[in-house]
Amino acid sequence: MNVILDNFDLYRDGFLKTLLICAYAIVGSLVLGTVMAAFRVSPVPPLRWIGTSWVNVFRNCPLTVVLFFCAFGLPELGINGAYFWFGVAGLVLYTSAFVCEAVRSGINSVPAGQAEAARAVGLTFSQSLSSVILPQALRTVVPPLGSVIIAMIKNSAIVGAFGVGGELFAVSDTLTSARGEAALPVLTGVVIAYLLITIPGGLFLGWLERKVAIAR
């Protein structure tokens, strides 16, 4: 276990970098995913088609392929940036499809009477969506959204395997491949670091779920 203590700063930096990737990706994918969900239920057919194709493309494509597209495709489109941002972009694109589906299922779970009442008092589509439907949908959507986010945190390791340096997966790769340390202690450290994020994350989401639950 000495290898963990000896390289504690490396682990700490990796942990923080993973958290940073996740923080950006959570914000990005929640915003993008909610917009796509609004597209999917909108009265305007082309917007619905955009939302549907978005979900079908990114949900069915492996994250690795999405990441390769970001790394090779974005520069060709004249979008240049650090590798870090390509990693985050890939994670956001991929996760947004799952967020979209979770939010949409939440929208569908809001009782029809709510939407009918909103229409009856004369609210427009965007008004009834933003002030009646979505606030209720986002509450019921906490549990599925929570599992999407936990899965996204775990997927951030793929971003690391893909070559964004410095985060937890990269730390394990550096220590085992480049420095030839024994794999078991090194990887045990990485596993513990991930569990430090995912298990409290799961507990927090369980708490949040109980807090925002609506008694129906």
Binding site: V41, P43, V44, P45, P46, L47, I50, N56, V57, R59, N60, C61, P62, L63, T64, V65, F68, F69, F72, G73, E76, L77, G78, I107, A112, A115, E116, R119, F125, S128, L129, I133, K154, N155, S156, A157, I158, A161, L168, F169, S172, D173, T176, A182, A183, L184, L187, V190, V191, Y194, L195, T198, I199, G202
Partner: protein, 298 residues
């Protein structure tokens, strides 16, 4: 027009507005596509040399490229199939252990499941591939990938199966026990067949996840689709085109599996309705007690 509850059936004014936004959105999409096209064209991404090895049978590389891709797709499917079969077996055993465990060791099963669920699957694969050789277990990369995927997916499937068992009405278990079936028989003949039936859509969706996760084999040098695509890219220098082909293949296969899951779900829920008698009481289909409940669909 759509019958969504979110908006009224459009009147003449709303129709005009929808039309206006439709045209606006259409123009927006076309503009983005055109900008992407122009930029890619400027970067010479539409050169024949980049596309013809993939799409032109007369190209000298065509045969080799598709031969490699074919092998790689087979490798992907083999890894996914093995991982799914092993996960299904181990996952069912775990779920049964968790459901039937005496309290004094149930926490151990629950702990194991929670632990394995919290670890990223890519770390799991890497862990297996790096740690096992240190202890003299030297296998093909295929087996490292399969073991890593199985460790992760078996606990996911265990949770799916457990949810399936818990979703059954209590009367099922009580009826089985009152018939004098042992606990093992109750599980094997009554609960599990119904649980699998109820969980089939979730299990098919998990298949999509496994299929996508096999692409992580590239980090341990397993020659699956994404890694071989990388090798092709290195030789031909056409990343966008090659990954486009890979993405389309994955999307088509997984989309079909997703539709299958939806179809099975609809079929199952339709089946449930027909099983109700007139007074609304559920009637057990005859084949459940003979243990063939899941046989017809799986």
């Amino acid at each position: 027009m759509s019958t969504s509850v979110l908006y009224d059936a459009p009147g003449p004014k709303a129709k005009r507005r929808v039309l206006f936004f439709s045209v606006l959105a259409g123009i927006g999409v076309l503009a983005v596509l055109y900008l992407v096209y122009r930029q890619l064209d400027k970067q010479k991404q539409f050169d024949e040399a980049k596309w013809s090895p993939l799409f032109d049978p007369t190209n000298k590389d065509f045969e080799l490229v598709w031969q490699r891709l074919g092998e790689a797709l087979t490798a992907t499917l083999v890894a996914a199939a093995l991982a799914v079969v092993f996960s299904l077996v181990i996952g069912t055993v775990l779920a049964v252990t968790r459901v039937t465990a005496a309290p004094w060791y149930r926490w151990a099963v629950v702990g194991l499941i929670e632990l394995l669920r919290g670890i990223p699957v890519v770390i799991m694969i890497f862990f297996v591939a790096r740690v096992l050789p240190e202890y003299g277990v030297d296998l093909e990369p295929l087996w490292f990938l399969v073991i890593g995927l199985t460790l992760y997916n078996s606990v996911v499937i265990a949770e799916i199966v457990r949810a399936g068992i818990n979703s059954l009405p209590r009367g099922q278990k009580e009826a089985a026990e009152s018939l004098g079936l042992t606990r093992g028989q109750t599980l094997r003949l009554v609960l599990l067949p119904q649980a699998f039936r109820a969980m089939l859509p979730a299990l098919i969706s998990q298949l999509v996840v496994v299929l996508k996760d096999t692409s992580l084999g590239f980090i341990i040098s397993y020659e699956e689709t994404v890694r071989v695509a990388g090798q092709i890219v290195q030789v031909l220098g056409n990343p966008i085109q090659t990954y486009l082909v890979i993405a389309v293949i994955f999307i088509l296969v997984n989309y079909a599996l997703g539709r299958l899951a939806v179809y099975v779900e609809r079929r199952l829920s339709r089946g449930k309705k027909t099983l109700k008698t007139d007074d609304g009481a559920a009637v057990l289909p005859a084949n459940v007690l003979t243990g063939e409940g899941a046989g017809g669909v799986m």
